[in-house]
């Protein structure tokens, strides 16, 4: 950035010096000198401007190279890093969705096994109580023994099945490792892209200063605010505890709604 400041400083110095000389020559009626001075000023300004535009162009070029975006070659074998990041994030969505569905499949497959065992145990328990109260005759007792025997078998089978499902649920969580790695890579890319973009913005602001371009910041901000209209939805809040305008949980929602008369 030093060279930018230098070229800008040089321009500003020349501007100050020449401005005084310009006024002097005009006051003395030396118009030829005045025109000469204006020409010199223009030259310095143009030189600075060309320099800055040149830097901006080089920086843009290197950004395009480093992002590997080439609009002229959409079918290039080497995909751009942004396209690659997008694909990686789609992979995260696919993987998390798969894990969620797999987990729910296994829970749904386990529930009836446990319900059946609970039902069987409940029925046996009732009859067992009757046996303890000596209300069961010999033939019925033989039947009860068979049912206890078959329950023990069912119980062992069910246990194996549910244990297996629990184990598979555990394994389905491996998406966390894989998606974590992918997201970290994408985060690194986003940070890199941001710092490159910031460099471009700084360069462009130098060009703006040489060219004397002023931006309406209020209008830009207003446009940005409009994008944040509440109807659009913002998705999950990451820093809910640090923001005043966001509820921090269901209790907050309930308080807010009850204050509105709900």
């Amino acid at each position: 950035m030093d060279s930018n400041n230098n070229s800008l400083g040089e321009f500003e110095n020349t501007l100050k010096k020449h401005a005084q000389e310009l006024v002097e020559s005009l006051e003395r009626g030396r118009f030829g000198d005045a025109v000469q001075l204006i020409h010199q000023l223009n030259q310095t300004r143009d030189r600075g401007l060309y320099q800055e535009v040149g830097k901006l162009t080089r920086e843009l070029h290197s950004a395009i190279v480093s992002f590997q975006i080439d609009p002229a070659m959409p079918q290039a074998e080497e995909v751009s890093q942004i396209t690659d990041a997008t694909e990686r994030l789609s992979y995260v969505v696919k993987l998390t969705e798969g894990a969620a569905n797999r987990t729910m499949d296994l829970v749904e497959a386990s529930t009836p096994v446990l319900n059946d065992l609970a039902g069987e145990a409940q029925a046996l328990s009732t009859d067992w109580q009757r046996f303890m109260r000596r209300e069961v005759a010999a033939p019925e007792f033989r039947d009860l023994v068979k049912r206890v025997d078959s329950f023990l078998t069912h119980s062992a089978e069910g246990n194996r099945k549910v244990s297996g499902h629990l184990n598979d649920i555990l394994l389905a969580q491996d998406y966390q490792d894989l998606t974590g790695q992918v997201i970290k890579r994408v985060t690194a890319l986003v940070t890199e892209v941001e710092s490159n973009l910031l460099k471009l913005v700084l360069m462009a602001s130098q060009v703006d200063r040489f060219a004397g371009i002023e931006h309406d910041h209020d209008q830009l901000r207003a446009e940005k605010d409009q994008e944040k209209h509440p109807t659009r939805g913002e998705g999950p809040q990451i820093h809910a505890d640090k923001r005043e305008d966001v509820v921090s949980g269901q209790d907050d929602v309930d308080d807010l709604l009850s204050s509105l008369g709900f």
Binding site: A100, N101, M104, G233, G235, D245, V247, Q250, V253, L256
Partner: protein, 128 residues
């Protein structure tokens, strides 16, 4: 509360629809149908005689808040109880939903207990 009531679950993520469906089944509500945004939900509501609507906010096509407004503007649907289950957590948004006529608001992530409480509260009010 009528356990046979017909419930429409609207969310663009199939896993979230499945979670809500499972939680509702745990609470004894088995008569559920699904839609993935307001645009697919609206014709189902118009022709399906639903008793209860559970909707997300942020969805492509038609958002949950727009769906809520459409429901309230529809002569036959305006009294349909609506529960919003969403990640949208800005105070302005909750106020907006309340003004649009929502009957309950649950922020994600939520627990089975919260869902149960809100549904019970909605039907206590509706039936009283």
């Amino acid at each position: 509360m009528n356990k046979d009531m017909k419930i429409l679950i609207v969310d663009d993520f199939s896993t979230m629809r499945r979670i809500i469906k499972n939680l509702l089944r745990d609470l004894g509500f088995t008569n559920t149908q699904e839609a993935d945004d307001g645009l697919t939900a609206m014709p189902m509501l118009e022709s399906g005689h639903f008793d209860f609507l559970v909707t997300d906010w942020n969805m492509p096509g038609m958002s949950g808040i727009d769906l809520l407004r459409k429901v309230r503007a529809d002569e036959r649907l305006k009294t349909l109880p609506v529960l919003m289950v969403t990640a949208e957590a800005k105070r302005d948004q909750i106020i907006e939903a309340a003004q649009a006529g929502v009957n309950g608001y649950v922020v994600k992530p939520f627990t089975a207990q919260v869902l149960k409480e809100k549904i019970e509260k909605i039907f206590e009010r509706v039936n009283s």
